[in-house]
């Protein structure tokens, strides 16, 4: 969201009007009211997922789920969105669940970024998730913002969507018709867009445990610490006997959401990385990344600069992942 503020004169004009605290009362009379920013909505604070789903189903396209609110509240304040029904899920205790299992990790819809960072078993088993989470915004934002909320929002510069794709995670989506499990790659459908249908909500996300001999790394480039990244990369390398058994590489900030660099992954798989063999393999992979990404120009960076950064971030992530993979 920190980039959406710059979008659109209409949104800024709406904020200026709201800020003046002037409202049209009954009969067109102008009255000065307490300053408020969002347009009116019906506020619901359900205690169970079933209750939330009933409200969301009734609201259809006019409903929005409020979790941590660190992206949605700015959009409401700026009137970029004005849902008729706001469904605050913060009082649904069942969604607090954070389960670190031997084969997988389950992160409920109310697990905050700060909860991820405080969990030692999670940091050890899923270091990629922890490393990326430490780069999400600032402490006060991490105290409220949720992993699932970041996934559902799918800002192209956000960390969590790329982590989920790299780790082959699954999003558990609930609707009135029941639950469905959506693999990461089909969940993200474009800038700020996901496979979520009206009336549905994310209830949890699951990450399989990476196999032994796996090294991961998340790197990003931002103008200031905690800002949205101009570009970033998530890498995961599984190395056995010095050979790359499996490679995953996802690029952040290229415009449409997480960009999986499949050509680069293919170039790495089966290659001998030991004894400086990685030099050629990584150079090849980086070239494939630079060739494949399709960034756009915006106020933060030109397309050419983003493309260059995609290669630099990919190389740094691969180097760090290899160093952590061991077995080389």
């Amino acid at each position: 969201m920190r980039r959406l503020w710059a979008r659109g004169k209409a949104a800024r004009a709406a904020v200026r009007v709201a800020r003046r605290g002037v409202q049209f009362g009954a009969g067109g009379k102008i009255e000065v009211a307490t300053p408020v920013k969002p347009a009116w909505f019906d506020y619901y604070a359900p205690r169970s997922v079933d209750e939330a789903l009933r409200i969301l189903d009734d609201a259809g396209r006019d409903g929005r789920v409020l979790a941590g609110g660190q992206s949605l509240m700015p959009m409401l304040n700026l009137r970029v969105v004005s849902p008729a029904a706001l469904v605050d899920i913060n009082r649904i205790e069942a969604l607090d669940r954070l389960h670190v299992g031997s084969d997988g990790l389950i992160v409920g819809a109310l697990v905050r970024h700060a909860d991820i960072l405080r969990n030692a078993a999670l940091r050890e088993g899923w270091p990629l998730l922890a490393e990326a989470t430490s780069l999400v915004a600032h402490p006060a934002i991490r105290n409220r913002g949720t992993v699932c909320g970041s996934l559902a929002h799918n800002d192209p510069a956000a960390e969590h969507p790329s982590v989920l794709v790299t780790l082959d995670g699954t999003v558990v989506v609930a609707g009135r018709g029941g639950r469905r499990e959506v693999p990461a790659e089909t969940f993200f459908t474009g800038m700020l867009s996901t496979a979520l249908e009206p009336g549905e909500m994310v209830v949890e996300v699951r990450y399989p445990r990476p196999p032994a001999g796996t090294g991961t790394a998340f790197v990003e480039f931002a103008r200031r610490l905690g800002d949205f990244a101009i570009a970033g990369a998530a890498a995961m390398l599984t190395v056995r006997d010095g050979v790359c058994e499996r490679a995953r590489l996802t690029i952040v900030g290229m415009g449409e959401g997480p960009f999986r660099a499949r050509a680069a992954e293919l170039a790495l798989t089966g290659r001998r990385l030991a004894r400086n063999g990685h030099e050629d393999a990584f150079a090849e992979a980086v070239a494939k990344v630079v060739e494949a990404v399709n960034p756009s120009n915006d106020v933060h960076a030109s397309a050419a600069y983003r493309r260059h950064l995609a290669g630099v971030m990919a190389r740094r992530a691969l180097d760090a992942a290899l160093a952590r993979a061991g077995g080389v």
Binding site: M1, R2, W5, V15, R19, T34, P35, V36, K37, P38, A39, W40, F41, D42, Y43, A45, G69, Q70, M73, P74, L76, N77, L78, L86, D88, N90, A114, A137, H138, P139, A140, I141, N143, R144, R224, L225, G226
Partner: protein, 162 residues
């Protein structure tokens, strides 16, 4: 559906029972309804950190929290830092002595953020202080004096050596 809702919230140890519009932010509630104007509003979309308050022991952006979401919560604002007898909190005293403010607009958010940092990490490095404060913008000081003040406060808040 009712556009207003009753909330019960404790602010700086004092209980309040108020009826508020559902779309009112916690920041506007604190300023306009409780008249605690120490909490400042800068950007009103979560970027500047001026409105940071403590909710149930965690720093949050009051501009990104609805007042109705604070129902049942414990809030601490800048007004709650000073002790009952008027003595400044060690953080406030350190800011005072290190000239860690000029216009003072960012100061309430800086103090609440630093308060959480020093509770979780009583002995931070300078880099950790800078990282913790990275979400609070100051347009006057260049941050050096603020970082110095937080480091100074950490020393002041260490339990006395026995």
């Amino acid at each position: 559906m009712a556009r207003e809702q009753r909330i019960k919230v404790t602010v700086n140890g004092q209980g309040h029972d108020k009826v508020v519009p559902v779309r009112l932010s916690l920041a506007d509630f604190i300023r306009e309804h409780l008249h605690l104007t120490g909490t400042h509003l800068g950007c009103e979309h979560g970027v500047c950190g001026a409105c940071t308050v403590s909710m149930n022991g965690r720093s949050v952006r009051a501009c990104l929290t609805l007042a109705v979401q604070a129902d049942g919560a414990e809030i601490v604002t800048i007004e709650g830092l000073r002790q009952a007898d008027g003595t400044r909190h060690p953080l406030q005293q350190a800011f005072h002595e290190n000239f860690a403010l000029q216009c003072g607009y960012c100061t309430p958010g800086m103090l609440i953020t630093a308060l959480e940092l020093l509770r979780d990490n009583p002995n931070p490095s300078e880099q950790e202080v800078r990282e913790a404060l990275s979400g609070n913008l100051c347009r006057c000081t260049g941050y050096q004096a603020i970082v110095d003040a937080v480091m100074d406060a950490a020393r002041r808040m260490q339990p006395a050596a026995t």
